[in-house]
């Protein structure tokens, strides 16, 4: 019998939530790869039933402390879809501004605190700060600016309170917006310096043949609106999601795996957005991408950190554009009256497309809820990446192999709290 090796990571660090990785190697073959999600289930889709449609943004925010805005945005757009209301004009622009804040905060957290340590051989941002204090201070400053957008427009950074179906509770003052714009002008230099810093990292040669899935909008880089498109020709409205995608329940995960009915697993997130929407980036973000050596598409998951940095440049630029052209709305929200029906929405969370479905009764009570987070869509692709990554690297000693496998998982900035409905690494060599 061939020699067996097991590589186990019992508790994945620098990811949000609880997961483990089990890899079994038999001789020179990768026998099994399991990304185990043991985050305990919290049953959001069940506990939403019977709640008011107006409560969905406040309740679903609690799925994730890192990307609450994404949950709030998918929830309000799905409710508005159910009730036949479209929010336009300055309120629409302000929702986009809020999302810019979350992208900056979440991406910078991942770039500096969770993922850069992998590339630089450190365990944590604190270790990094000991060697590169100025770089880490720059990251913290940039992250803070993202949080300041969310804090101003959302009321607070984690679980914002100012988002409602139809718009907001209160619109900040003109002088508040003007002060924010000044901070964003400084943040733009920090964002460009981040791209330049990350572009100097060593990236393994690892281009993969993915089916990318994300939103696409005719006029803008996607946040809250657009059709669901893929690199293999899918092009559907968000309302048709369930006709093309299905969730499977596997034994080793409290997160459901989502796949395309026609072709199986696919990839959402920054690489998908970038590769399918490059033309919609701002000139400054395109220039930063080109200077960093990126093409118009990117198929190397290890370069996701670089694409995130480009998206931070875009988010800062876009936030400034919105503030520059913003007219303060007359009213903080539009009225949304409940009606019986089903609503759908997908928005681009920092980690990828987040789809919500709700069925309402005539009084606006939620009868059915279904939430499909980015990490559950990526879980099968993460396992597939690992299989392809390990096979040519079997001669590496276990500790190096384990380090690189963990890094490969973190390429996805997996959010396990979100997907549980994620990770521990075990590499077993047989």
């Amino acid at each position: 019998m061939a020699e067996q090796r097991t590589i186990k990571v019992d508790y994945m660090a620098r990811v949000e939530g609880e997961s483990a990785l089990d890899i079994v190697i038999e001789g020179d073959a990768v026998k099994d790869v399991k990304l185990k999600i043991f985050e305990p289930p919290r049953f959001f889709e069940a506990l939403l039933r019977g709640r008011s449609f107006l409560e969905a943004p406040d309740i679903t925010a609690r799925i994730c402390g890192i990307c609450p805005v994404a949950y709030q945005m998918s929830a309000v757009h799905a409710m508005e879809d159910a009730c036949g209301v479209k929010v336009t004009g300055p309120l629409r622009a302000l929702r986009r501004l809020l999302y810019c804040g979350e992208w900056i905060e979440s991406h910078v957290l991942h770039i500096y605190m969770l993922h850069a340590p992998d590339f630089l051989g450190k365990h944590s941002v604190v270790e990094l700060a000991a060697e590169h204090p100025e770089i880490i201070r720059r990251g913290l400053r940039l992250k803070k600016t993202g949080n300041e957008i969310v804090g101003l427009l959302g009321g607070r950074e984690i679980h914002p309170i100012n988002v409602r179906v139809g718009g907001f509770y209160k619109i900040p003052t003109k002088s508040d917006f003007a002060a924010l714009a000044e901070k964003l002008k400084l943040a733009r230099d920090d964002a460009l310096a981040t791209v330049s810093w990350v572009s100097g990292f060593q990236f393994p040669d690892f281009d993969q043949d993915y089916e990318f899935v994300c939103l696409s909008h005719p006029d803008e880089y996607p946040y809250n609106e657009g059709r669901i498109v893929s690199s293999r020709g899918l092009d559907i409205p968000v309302q048709a999601f369930h006709e093309h995608f299905v969730e499977d329940h596997v034994a080793h995960s409290t997160a459901l795996h989502c796949r395309l009915k026609a072709r199986g697993h696919y990839k959402v997130g920054p690489l998908a957005r970038y590769s399918l929407n490059y033309d919609k980036l701002s000139p400054l973000a395109k220039q930063a991408a080109m200077d960093a050596g990126l093409g118009r598409t990117c198929n190397n998951p290890f370069k996701s950190i670089l694409v995130r940095a480009v998206e931070v440049v875009y988010a800062v630029d876009e936030a400034l554009r919105i503030l520059d052209t913003l007219e303060r709305p007359d009213s903080p929200c539009v009225e949304v009256l409940p009606r019986a029906g089903t609503g759908f929405a997908a928005t681009e969370a920092p980690r990828g497309m987040l789809h919500h479905t709700y069925r309402l009764d005539a009084e606006g009570n939620i009868a059915f809820a279904q939430i499909i987070p980015p990490t559950s869509q990526n879980q099968a692709t993460i396992e597939d990446d690992l299989r392809h990554f390990i096979a040519p690297r079997l001669s590496l000693p276990d500790d190096q192999l384990q380090w690189q496998c963990e890094q490969a998982v973190r390429n996805y900035d997996p959010c396990i709290s979100c997907s549980t409905h994620f990770l521990k690494l075990t590499v077993e060599r047989r």
Binding site: P40, R42, R62, I63, G65, I66, H123, H159, Y169, T254
Partner: protein
């Protein structure tokens, strides 16, 4: 003497309260200078064994395995501080305590037999002795820094226990109930958010849970009789992130 050793633990939760520590952009490096961050898997892959001087615990107990794990953390820790509504009250996921969990599992998962979970989501203090409970959904990061500072310096944390209503008066916000007839849990809710919602023209919905000796019955009767709030909506206000905490639990049960 070495620096105090800090550990950060997660149970059923959204990660938001431990993220509050990483959100201390201006203070994080100072904290890392004052304590040894010995165990904080969300931020570091260097996971040191115990014992720890201070353990911050996020999340509620929802599995038999976690009920065991929290006892081991107690044994390994000098002080245990719970952070946030999940750890101090059971969290939004404690809504299962009012429902049939098997039915919840069937509603979410295709193969319920793959899922092992307890019937209830319960706060940490139901399982072990807790030295301090920091409230909020999410916690206030300045209160978190104050609490860590207090414990490493062996003093009591200065965390006010009055109501959100008092915070509102202190910041000079016009009362949303009196001026606009909005339902607001401010009079019965523990301070800590700085009376955020009324400053954004909305009523408090209880993120920080009940204050001591909260007269929820009187407030609920007033909301129903004077403001015309429906019983169902009064129940919803009490039964969210701190639904399992008394008196929010029984007040919610009386309506609906």
């Amino acid at each position: 003497m070495g620096k105090p050793r800090l550990a950060v633990w997660k149970f059923a939760s959204c990660d938001g309260c431990q993220l509050s520590l990483l959100d201390c952009e201006d203070e994080l490096l100072a904290v890392a200078g004052a304590v040894e961050i010995a165990y904080f898997p969300e931020a570091s892959s260097d996971m040191q064994p115990g014992p720890y001087d201070v353990s911050l615990v996020e999340g509620s107990i929802t599995t038999a395995h976690d009920a065991e794990r929290i006892r081991e953390i107690r044994r390994q820790s000098g002080a245990v501080i719970t952070i946030g509504a999940c750890a101090t009250a059971g969290g939004i996921q404690a809504l299962r305590n009012f429902a049939d969990v098997e039915e919840f599992t069937r509603a979410v998962y295709a193969t319920p037999s793959f899922i092992s979970t307890l019937d209830t989501s319960t706060p940490i203090a139901d399982h072990i002795r807790v030295d301090f409970e920091l409230r909020g959904c999410p916690i206030n990061k300045h209160q978190l820094l104050e609490t860590i500072n207090a414990f490493i310096n062996r003093r009591r944390p200065n965390i006010p226990a009055h109501s959100v209503c008092v915070e509102c008066k202190r910041r000079g916000t016009v009362c949303v109930t009196v001026a606009r007839g909005a339902a607001c849990l401010g009079p019965v809710t523990h301070a800590g958010c700085g009376a955020l919602c009324p400053s954004y023209d909305r009523g408090c919905f209880g993120c920080y849970g009940p204050k001591e000796l909260a007269n929820t019955e009187s407030l609920a009767a007033w909301a129903r009789d004077k403001l015309g709030v429906a019983d169902k909506d009064i129940q919803r206000l009490h039964h969210n992130f701190n639904a399992w905490s008394e008196p929010f639990r029984s007040e919610g049960d009386r309506h609906g």
